[in-house]
């Protein structure tokens, strides 16, 4: 069975290490915050100017002056700090954020990513995505392995306009976990009930299977 969104988020959460500063994008990445392992202390960065983002507010609360980069109302945790957008992207560029998790429309087997623009559709803009992928030292992509038409989103080369080049380090899809290596996508885990053959069939880019590939613990 391919993973659902919650399971993808849960698997990514296992990549978190104690002391990490983490930026979580909109969508599945946001869910990662719900699965931070016990004993692992991470600080969430929101690129609109906050370190120490907490959960959504309780019903009836919600401060218009306290939102995340997805414009949702949020809260803070003890030890949080607010700052302006220049400092926020400054710390991203300077490599102070340990891990960035974001979604993608396409990833190429060299780590290129496309996630901001579809030709002939209204373009809303790249927001902070280009800054994040250009500078983050460790990027994990959370995505569906294929698009609604069943076509692979793990490609030899992105067909959509790029967001960044050679920057993705790891992908957690509904089918498995893939490191981006010089040999292409390297499958290190497969989702329970998903076969290697299915992964091969649905991966258009170069794919190698790790010698010690194993079933994912979900």
């Amino acid at each position: 069975m391919p993973l659902n969104k919650e399971q993808i988020a849960k698997r990514i959460a296992q990549e978190l290490q104690d002391g990490f500063y983490v930026n979580l994008g909109i969508g599945i990445p946001t869910l990662v915050a719900n699965y931070i392992p016990h004993g692992v202390d991470v600080v969430l960065q929101s690129e609109n100017g906050l370190l120490g983002m907490g959960p959504f507010p309780f019903e009836g609360d919600g401060d218009p002056d306290l939102i995340n980069a997805g414009k949702q109302t949020i809260t803070t945790v003890p030890g949080s700090a607010f700052f302006d957008s220049a400092m926020s992207f400054g710390m991203i560029r300077a490599g102070k954020v340990d891990l960035t998790v974001l979604g993608a429309m396409e990833v190429a087997d060299n780590g290129d990513i496309a996630n901001w623009k579809i030709p002939n559709k209204m373009v809303k803009g790249m927001g902070g995505a280009m800054d994040l992928v250009a500078a983050a030292k460790n990027i994990i992509v959370a995505m569906q392995h294929t698009n609604p038409k069943g076509e692979s989103k793990l490609l030899p080369k992105c067909t959509l306009p790029l967001t960044g080049v050679g920057c993705v380090k790891k992908i957690v899809s509904d089918l498995g976990v893939f490191d981006v290596t010089p040999d292409g996508f390297k499958c290190i885990e497969y989702a329970p009930g998903v076969t290697i053959d299915e992964i091969k069939a649905k991966t258009a880019g170069r794919l190698v299977i790790a010698d010690n590939v194993k079933e994912m613990a979900v």
Binding site: S46, E59, K71, Q72, S85, S88
Partner: protein, 231 residues
């Protein structure tokens, strides 16, 4: 030295059609509601607006778009606005999309008197087209120019009669850099206090950057996406 003006109308009185404006705010968070209303009332047009977002149909910069006052938006993200999309597709409105960190840093560069800076974002993408690329320490960077804005319009939480500003929460976002970058900076604040009431250690924008200040009225502070959890 008198920076305090009576209200939004006086604050924006000399903004002409064709001006380039910086407007603080992220989404609808921290936007200068009173000044936007005054600009709508004043009816200036052909404006170039540097602002991370373009508001929604019936709030924020969306109100200026509805009145066809905006010629060009320079933003990182412009979704959530049907009229915006209509004007863009019909060619009435011009849009320059800039990565969010680059947008912030080009404002900062202006406020810091730096004509240009080298930034990573957009390398290898269509954002890099036509831009100068330079390699430092094995990495490619784009040369990005400081913005040049006639007016910067920001909204702060507190301000004093000297123009010192303090922001609250994530309503800070782009406003400090824009306040520092504008040739003429206008600040509307929720609470205007006498000089000496704000702690000088905790000023986000020193008064030297602010030309006009006033206490705004009837803040709606609309929430774009109220997201909550159960108690």
């Amino acid at each position: 030295m008198n920076k305090v003006v009576a209200g939004a109308d006086e604050a924006v009185h000399d903004i002409p059609s064709g001006a380039t404006l910086m407007l603080g705010g992220f989404g609808l968070c921290g936007i200068p509601e009173n000044c936007i209303a005054a600009l709508v009332k004043k009816g200036v047009n052909n404006l170039t607006c540097i602002s991370n977002n373009a508001g929604v149909d019936d709030f924020g910069i969306g109100l200026m778009l509805k009145g066809k006052q905006v010629k060009k938006m320079i933003s990182s993200y412009v979704g959530e606005n049907a009229e915006f999309e209509r004007q863009l597709l019909s060619g009435e409105l011009e849009v320059e999309l800039v990565p969010q960190g680059t947008l912030a840093t080009r404002c900062m560069a202006a406020g810091y008197g730096m004509p240009a800076v080298y930034l990573l974002a957009g390398i290898g993408t269509e954002v890099a087209e036509g831009k100068e690329v330079r390699n430092f320490n094995g990495k490619d960077y784009l040369l990005e120019y400081a913005f040049d804005a006639d007016f910067a319009i920001v909204k702060a939480w507190k301000g004093d009669t000297q123009g010192n500003l303090v922001f609250k929460g994530t309503a800070r976002n782009f406003s400090p850099m824009m306040a520092m970058a504008g040739k003429i900076t206008i600040a509307e604040v929720e609470h205007l206090v006498p000089a000496g009431e704000l702690d000088p250690n905790n000023i986000h924008v020193p008064g030297i950057y602010v030309r006009r200040i006033f206490e705004g009225k009837n803040y709606e502070k609309r929430i774009e996406q109220r997201t909550v959890r159960k108690r």
